[in-house]
């Protein structure tokens, strides 16, 4: 209570007097008050009223925060309790006023401005909820909201949000959404993520509330600000067997022809292999290439490659990051045995129209993005096309007339309807055309459309619903000979509806549950004449359809800050649907054409066969200390769709087949154990993971299997058992002038077919190595940042050669020497070793220039080593010769130019 006479007193003197009397601190701008004198008297009034009286008719206003700070301003009240984005605005206005009155602060560099804002935000105290009367009751409340990039408005995914001084921490999800439980009262929230400045927010929490945060991107990654959220999440997170790479790291890795290729970078991670350079098929922890669920946003990409597997079909300009789950696959994902590869696209810039373009040896690409409604919705469009024909011109004259082309197009829209509802649209299309010598034409492509709606009920509940169509098709045609002019077409379509609910029940429990519905529709082959003179007999395989439904529930349970469990059950029901004619075979004897007992007819929509079973996903994490944790996991998976391919590399013309009464779904389970250790104040991360995996009903093929247009495919396949085990070691340095990773994997994948009721056993019924069994694998990826505009990257990889089948003898038949084969995969091709090198040269880094240029110059296969893709014997001019085939058996230099606007 204030009592006193203040007569013609300078305002400043008055305020100093008030500070003494009240113990509050007063903040003001001298120029605002230096001409003001106060002239009044009060008798036992509260200080707030006193201040009001003193400032009447002066235009001065004031506000206070919870910490005895009083802010005095002219006309505009500095409201300390406003939501952040409003504050942001207010701060700008305040800044404008201040620059008007105080020319000294007019430094005009964005750097300084940013710093000023950041400092403001970090030091500001955010009050959540109403201050209760009386003492604050102890307890915990939930704070939730979105993290956005302050420059582009894009969500910040995978940021670590942690309460300082406690072990509570969460990771923002793919929408940039976080929800954290914290004690009532005052806390400091630390936010760290790849590509943003580390920052913190001071909060005073009274009740549950929302807090959206705009975070500053790092314009230039400096040593002291590169902080990766994975660093802490590696130790603290529940995930194991997960690799996350952002596009920046991907772009640094040198690749063939300089075509930034996300799948090639995935292959440098431990536990990921491929049969050879011509294949983008991933073999994750001993799984086959068709056992990976490749998701682009929510859409399943059936063939993620261009040019018969040489390049991946993802436009790097649109990709934000990717995450590969090798174990600990979240319950919301299912339907594949070995891994889930999430490729996340960027959201368009919500503030300005921007774009980029690039020219490489084989492709050109462009992307444009910008707001549709400022801060509310944005779009991003990306397209790539090739001019690879020059490659074909290098071929022998016989193939001169061959032509190849591919392209892909991405289009995404993000729209925030209001604070609680957002929608996301993703469109993707890829096309490949290849014409072999004006004769046989190949065409294949993906088409994906998805629409996703996210609704936040409150801080504890949110739901995501997604629907869409994924399809892949190919056709091969030849019109050269009118009598046999044909077209062979194949397509696979899937329609899905996924609903997912997240419930942050308490600090200890987070529940996720949902339902996935997936309807498959396949046309496994349609063979038609292309010319009316053609004698081709039209042959159409019956369309296949199936419905896959899965329900799941998972609980993340923090027993103590150091010990957490995550358990999930996914129950999947697979219905193979009519209309269908199914061949019936006698039980217990090999399925052959002669053993067909008859057929069963099913009408449209009728259930032909149901497979159902629960899948279990469990992970446990124990933090031993700040830098060391142990994790263990067990998961089971089921797969209802198979790729029929008896070639070593997966081909674009492979056929997908649904499980049916004669071909069982594949089943796999995996147990894994991991040790995670961070060193040198979290700048070096190490992990060591072990796994053991079993597979059942994995398809292998009988000798001489015919897979195309086969109306009784079950007679040509074999259900095998498999086992895979291995150790993966990764050491990664994400920060500093020198960064990169070194990985080593020891792994084995063995298959067995000893069931004589299926036919002749393979390799006498003993375990034999799978095509991609490459026990040792060492990969090094390093990047040295020489200056902010120049960096060098090196990539070196060594692996054991893959297994192959080689002849055991020769014989003379049909006019020539022929090779004699026996057991499968008993030999290996020579070991693989390759080194690549690249230089990245950026133009200047002035933030406000219109165009930013960069060059990448590199060399693929620096040592020119002729790494064999395969070793084979072939009969030529009547004589057997052994050969070694290398795909890129030479030094391949490249240059790439990019421009950003």
């Amino acid at each position: 209570m204030i009592t006193g006479e203040f007569r013609n007193m300078p305002a400043e003197t008055f305020l100093l007097d008030m500070e003494r009397r009240t113990g509050y601190h007063f903040y003001y701008n001298k120029t605002d008050i230096d001409s003001i004198r106060v002239d009044f008297s009060v008798n036992n009034e509260p200080w707030r009223k006193t201040l009001g009286l003193a400032f009447s008719n002066t235009g001065l206003v004031f506000s206070e925060d919870g910490e005895h700070h009083v802010f005095i301003s002219k006309h505009i009240v500095i409201n300390t309790e406003l939501a952040e984005e409003l504050f942001d605005d207010a701060a700008k206005k305040a800044k404008k006023t201040s620059t008007k009155t105080n020319s000294i602060t007019n430094t005009d560099t964005s750097q300084a401005e940013n710093k000023a804002t950041t400092a403001n935000l970090e030091n500001k105290l955010y009050t959540i909820g109403e201050k209760p009367k009386g003492a604050l009751a102890p307890g915990r409340v939930t704070l939730a909201g979105y993290l956005h990039d302050s420059k582009t408005g894009e969500p910040i995914i995978g940021a670590s949000v942690r309460i300082e001084g406690s072990k509570t921490g969460v990771i923002s999800d793919q929408y940039g959404y976080y929800s954290i439980t914290l004690p009532k009262g005052r806390s400091i929230i630390n936010i760290q993520s790849l590509g943003i400045r580390d920052t913190r927010r001071q909060v005073m929490v009274y009740t549950e509330g929302k807090m959206n945060m705009d975070l500053q991107p790092m314009v230039i990654p400096l040593k002291n600000v590169i902080v990766s959220s994975e660093r802490t999440s590696l130790i603290r997170g529940m995930q194991m067997g997960v690799q996350k790479i952002d596009i920046k790291a991907i772009k640094q890795v040198p690749v063939v022809f300089g075509e930034v290729d996300i799948l090639r970078v995935v292959m440098t991670m431990p536990g990921v292999k491929t049969v050879g350079e011509a294949s983008t098929g991933l073999n994750v922890r001993g799984g086959a290439a068709d056992q990976n669920l490749i998701l682009f946003n929510d859409a399943t990409i059936f063939n993620p490659s261009h040019f018969f597997g040489l390049f991946s079909a993802f436009n790097p300009e649109v990709v934000k990051d990717l995450q590969l789950y090798k174990s600990g696959i979240p319950a919301k994902y299912g339907g594949r045995l070995s891994s889930v590869l999430e490729v996340n696209s960027r959201e368009g810039n919500k503030k300005n129209i921007t774009g980029s373009a690039g020219i490489g040896l084989l492709t050109s690409r462009i992307n444009i993005e910008g707001p549709l409604a400022k801060d509310k919705s944005s779009f991003i469009f990306g397209a790539r096309t090739t001019y690879a024909n020059w490659l074909l011109d290098l071929l022998p004259s016989e193939y001169k007339n061959s032509r190849a082309a591919f392209n892909d197009i991405n289009f995404n829209i993000t729209h925030e309807i209001n604070k609680k509802n957002s929608i996301y649209f993703t469109g993707y299309m890829s096309n490949d055309r290849f014409n072999l010598n004006n004769d046989t034409s190949y065409h294949y492509g993906n088409r994906n459309v998805s629409l996703k709606w996210k609704h936040v009920f409150n801080n504890k509940w949110y739901t995501v619903a997604a629907t869409g169509i994924d399809s892949y098709n190919y056709d091969i045609s030849s019109e050269r000979n009118p009598a046999t002019a044909y077209k062979l077409a194949f397509d696979i379509n899937q329609y899905y509806l996924k609903t997912h609910v997240n419930y942050f029940a308490s600090a200890k429990h987070t529940f996720e549950f949902g339902m996935n519905n997936l309807l498959y529709k396949l046309h496994p082959g349609k063979y038609t004449p292309m010319d009316n003179r053609s004698l081709i007999k039209a042959d159409e395989m019956q369309a296949e359809q199936a419905l896959e439904t899965a329900f799941y529930l998972s609980d993340k349970y923090s027993i103590s800050p150091n010990f957490s469990l995550e358990g999930a059950v996914r129950y999947s029901i697979y219905n193979y649907l009519g209309a269908q004619t199914v061949n019936n075979y006698a039980a217990g004897i090999p399925k052959t054409e002669t053993n067909i007992l008859g057929t069963s007819q099913y009408n449209s929509g009728q259930i032909v066969k149901t497979y159902q079973a629960p899948e279990i996903r469990a992970t446990a994490r124990y933090v031993i200390n700040e830098n060391l944790s142990l994790k263990a996991g067990y998961n089971t998976q089921r797969q209802f769709i198979h790729v029929l391919s008896n070639t070593a590399a997966i081909a674009p013309t492979d056929i997908w087949k649904l499980s049916d009464p004669n071909i069982k779904p594949q089943y796999g389970d995996q147990i894994s154990l991991g040790i995670y250790h961070n060193m040198k104040s979290n700048t070096i991360e190490t992990s060591l993971e072990f796994y053991y995996k079993r597979m059942q009903d994995y398809l292998d093929y009988k000798s001489g299997a015919s897979l195309v247009l086969n109306h009784h495919i079950e007679t040509d396949v074999l259900a095998t058992k498999g086992k895979a085990y291995g150790i993966e070691f990764l050491i990664k340095k994400t920060t500093g002038k020198f960064n990169g990773w070194l990985s080593y994997t020891y792994s084995r994948t063995l298959l067995q077919m000893n069931d004589s009721t299926q036919g002749t056993v393979v390799n006498k019924g003993v375990y034999y190595p799978a095509n991609f069994d490459k026990p040792h694998d060492v990969t090094f990826v390093g990047n040295i940042r020489v200056s902010h505009r120049f960096s060098l990257s090196v990539n070196a990889t060594y692996s054991t050669g893959r297994p192959i089948t080689l002849p055991i003898g020769r014989f003379f038949y049909a006019g020539a020497e022929r090779t004699l084969y026996s057991d499968r995969n008993q030999y290996r091709i020579p070991d693989y070793f390759r080194t690549d090198f690249s230089m990245n040269i950026d133009g200047n880094h002035k933030v406000h220039q219109v165009f930013h240029n960069s060059f990448t110059i590199g060399v693929y296969n620096l040592t020119g080593r002729k790494n064999p893709y395969s070793v084979y014997y072939t009969t030529e001019a009547g004589v057997v010769n052994g050969y070694k085939l290398s795909i890129f058996g030479t030094i391949i230099p490249y240059i790439n130019y990019n421009i950003r606007f």
């Binding site: 070639t647 055991i808 038949y813 057997v880 070694k884 795909i887 058996g889």
Partner: protein, 384 residues
């Protein structure tokens, strides 16, 4: 659709292929290999018995001799015993088969092991409709055409041999005469009484039998018609069409299983080396060892018939066919022992005749003078 293996070529711009001999454990296989067919048509039946060998073995084909080989009928009414007419080749001059019966091959080797094939129906081969050709990309592509009006054949195997006539670049009526010591002494006419006389070194014929397996099926066609099945491609300006070329096509009707066997053999031995190779695998055919059922036997024996058709293509049918053998010019040398000894090649014709004989003679490269280095000088009987 089987052509996807060709796509490797697309990559050959950067790819490279080199000879390679991996370290192999080579078991002694020595499996019996049975080749041939039971001839239901006119002509002999010939069955060849060989043994598989080590891959690295440099030895010639190992023939299986002194075996008992029979063609057996299912009704056991008429069996034929084949006789070994040359090492490892067992023949029967003319079988008389009952069209409604089924036949198989029986083999008993000298080590007492017995082998049989599966029974085969008596299959006849339709006539070859034509062997056609057309100019493609400057070369000549040759095709087989056939059909079966009854639509019973469906699976075809083709074989062919090709023969062409060619001449040397340089004509010769001279030869080198030696002295008493056997050293070259001088060049004279081959027949001094008839200077025009030439040995048959100028005009020759070359025959080539390809070693690749040629099979075709019409199972995916509405009619049993083989139209424009590509046999061979003659490169532009090839010597094969320098004068006259002939191709003799042989056709066999085979079973579906026989087709699969050959197709697999082709894939295993001729179509490897691409990116999308199917893994090679064991492929043994329809022969079985009765004595030891686990012993692999290689070969597919069934009843078939051989049909043939021969065509000729003349250089005159191909305007602008620029075959030209590259030869260095003939060199004139003095007809004295030292010069003759130092000359490379074969004397061709007289450069300058003097009073006492031939003063200067021409020499040409052997390959350009002596056609027997590249073919045979005996005219084939079928040559017009």
């Amino acid at each position: 659709m089987k052509k996807i293996w060709v796509l490797t070529l697309l990559l050959l711009a950067f790819a490279c292929r080199e000879k390679y001999v991996p370290q192999l454990n080579e078991p002694v296989t020595g499996y019996l290999v049975v080749e041939g067919f039971i001839n239901s048509g006119t002509g002999p039946t010939a069955i060849t018995l060989t043994r598989s060998t080590k891959l690295s073995s440099q030895a010639a084909i190992v023939k299986e001799t002194k075996a008992t080989v029979r063609v057996e009928s299912k009704t056991n009414t008429n069996n034929f015993i084949l006789t070994e007419t040359s090492t490892g080749v067992y023949t029967y001059p003319q079988l008389l088969l009952n069209a409604t019966d089924q036949y198989r091959l029986y083999v008993k080797t000298t080590n007492g092991k017995e082998y049989v094939s599966d029974f085969s129906v008596v299959r006849r081969t339709p006539d070859i409709d034509s062997v056609s050709w057309r100019v493609e990309n400057g070369g000549v592509q040759i095709y087989a055409n056939t059909h079966d009006a009854q639509a019973k054949t469906k699976y075809y195997q083709f074989k062919y041999d090709e023969t062409w006539e060619f001449t040397s670049k340089y004509y010769t009526n001279l030869k080198i005469y030696n002295d008493r010591n056997g050293d070259a002494h001088h060049v004279g006419y081959r027949d001094s009484s008839n200077p025009a006389y030439a040995l048959n070194l100028y005009r020759c014929w070359k025959t080539n039998i390809p070693t690749n397996i040629l099979i075709n099926t019409t199972e995916k066609l509405t009619q049993d018609v083989v139209s424009l099945y590509p046999l061979t491609y003659i490169e532009p300006a090839s010597w094969k069409l320098g004068i006259l070329y002939s191709i003799n096509l042989k056709e066999y009707a085979i079973s579906q299983e026989g087709f699969r066997f050959l197709d697999e053999l082709k894939k295993n031995t001729e179509q490897l080396g691409s990116i999308f190779d199917a893994q090679p695998s064991g492929n043994n055919g329809n022969m079985h060892c009765l004595t030891n059922p686990d012993e692999p036997v290689i070969g597919f024996i069934e009843v078939s018939e051989e049909k043939q058709k021969r065509i000729f293509i003349s250089n005159t049918q191909l305007p602008g066919w620029n075959y030209n053998m590259f030869c260095t010019d003939e060199v004139a040398v003095p007809n004295i022992p030292d010069s003759i000894k130092g000359s490379i090649g074969i004397p061709t014709r007289v450069a300058k005749a003097g009073i006492s004989g031939l003063d200067f003679v021409f020499f040409g490269p052997a390959l350009c003078v002596d056609c027997t280095l590249r073919g045979v000088s005996t005219k084939p009987t079928f040559w017009p």
